[in-house]
């Protein structure tokens, strides 16, 4: 017994190091699996508050470009209002029926953006108070942005599409060939669409939209245009590089999409646990 205590006392630095290191590694592994980062996220009172107050200052520097973006959106929306025949390109707003599913939009503001890491997480200024929950979709006026992860009372973290942990189902706009959207961490402007079937008619410049096969995003939210495509090593599927419509480095105003029928769909899909 004495030997053991002596051993602990002699190696206390090393043991403390091992102990703290294992804590850090556990946090790291948690952050690498989808929706597992329980403790370490910036959607809490202190960090959210600090980011919020600094964002209140820095928001003035991007007012001009953000105003232009909003104006663009206004122009697009009013063009939809004044042209009854829906032929406006890529507008998901016009598709009001959304194949029978109801969606609710909530505006929000990004108070921390990130695009240089391999797993990028954004912070927005809406939280549980605004009835946000995990797995709500987040879009901008130009296209898809990410999925809500953790929520606190006033803030929520968003896993951006520039995150290696998320997959989003997307398809060609013209046909219904679909694949999953992932990011290869190379450039914040380009994401990859995997597992598009070999017979799909691909052309550079074609538009990619969300497929609506998941319950997070409605069908038809614009993602980007095809920049390049190649067959994968097994030569059965295309891997497509997509140039995003969004400038991920300049994001301020976003919309949160809530699928109103989510719980009903979930209860259908998930086997009831008896």
């Amino acid at each position: 017994m004495q030997q053991i205590i002596k051993f602990f006392l002699r190696n206390k630095t090393f043991l403390l190091y091992l102990f703290l290191l294992s804590i850090a590694i556990v946090f790291t592994i948690q952050s690498h699996s989808y929706h597992k980062s329980k403790f370490i996220n910036s959607a809490n009172f202190v960090t959210g508050g600090i980011y919020n107050s600094t964002n209140n200052l820095s928001i003035y520097f991007s007012l001009k470009s953000q105003n232009l973006l909003l104006q663009e959106e206004n122009a697009r929306l009013s063009s939809i209002v004044y042209t009854p025949n829906d032929t406006v390109n890529g507008s998901f707003i016009t598709d009001t029926i959304y194949s029978g599913v109801n969606y609710k939009f909530t505006p929000a503001q990004v108070i921390k953006n990130s695009y240089s890491a391999t797993n990028n997480v954004l912070l927005i200024n809406r939280g549980k108070r605004d009835s946000l929950k995990q797995d709500f979709g987040v879009i901008t006026q130009k296209g898809i942005l990410g999925i809500v992860d953790r929520t606190s009372n006033k803030f929520a973290t968003v896993l951006s599409i520039l995150n290696t942990n998320i997959k989003i189902s997307a398809q060609l706009k013209n046909t219904n060939h679909f694949g999953s959207l992932m990011w290869d961490t190379k450039s914040p402007q380009v994401v990859q669409l995997h597992e598009i079937s070999k017979i799909a008619p691909l052309k550079k410049g074609d538009t990619i939209v969300t497929s609506g096969r998941s319950i997070i995003f409605p069908k038809g939210i614009p993602v980007g245009t095809i920049k390049d495509f190649r067959l994968d090593s097994a030569e059965n599927f295309y891997t497509v590089d997509i140039q995003l419509f969004n400038d991920m480095t300049n994001i301020e105003y976003v919309y949160i999409i809530e699928n109103v029928d989510k719980s009903e769909i979930n209860s259908l899909i998930k086997p009831s646990n008896e």
Binding site: L16, Y17, A24, H32, N119
Partner: protein
């Protein structure tokens, strides 16, 4: 004694806020950010209480992690360089360190640069290896380590020169 404790707490908070509010958003050439907060660990006074030093380094890293939603990568990296610091100190400063009389203000500049380089490169390597967490992308890890280390080293040396009270 109390005075130094206060000055180090202030340094701790200032470096952490500077890191998360300013330096994390530089994104030089797309993805290169300096991690200046390691300066706190590099310049922490040398005494015998290594347990406290390890705990403080861990807290600093974890604070950065919470702000930047990165799991525990900064905590692991900061903790590791705090743990191996005595070895590197012995390697770089030799006898001065053995006699426990080292003061960072008046050590040889060349030795200090080497000391900075070794610890910063190790820190960045652990940081990016854990962040990317994929052996397939080892080239990307090394590339990020190299570029960010250069940036951090330059910034750390500039900070020590600017804020030294020798004059």
């Amino acid at each position: 004694m109390n005075n130094t404790a206060i000055s180090f707490s202030v340094q701790f908070i200032v470096l952490m806020l500077a890191q998360v509010l300013v330096l994390n958003h530089i994104n030089f050439l797309g993805h290169i950010n300096p991690y200046l907060y390691v300066l706190f660990i590099l310049l922490f006074p040398i005494n015998n209480n290594r347990l406290v030093f390890l705990l403080i380094s861990f807290a600093l890293g974890l604070g950065i992690d919470i702000f930047s939603d990165s799991g525990g990568v900064h905590a692991a990296a900061a903790l590791s360089i705090a743990f191996i610091r005595p070895v590197v100190l012995k390697f770089c400063f030799g006898s001065v360190y053995e006699h426990q009389t080292i003061k960072f203000k008046n050590v040889d500049f060349g030795a200090k640069v080497i000391y900075f380089i070794i610890l910063i490169v190790i820190h960045h390597f652990i940081l990016f290896a854990l962040e990317i967490f994929n052996l397939r992308d080892i080239i990307l890890v090394l590339q990020k380590t190299l570029f960010s280390s250069i940036f951090t080293i330059i910034l750390c040396l500039m900070a020590t020169i600017i804020f030294s009270r020798k004059t």
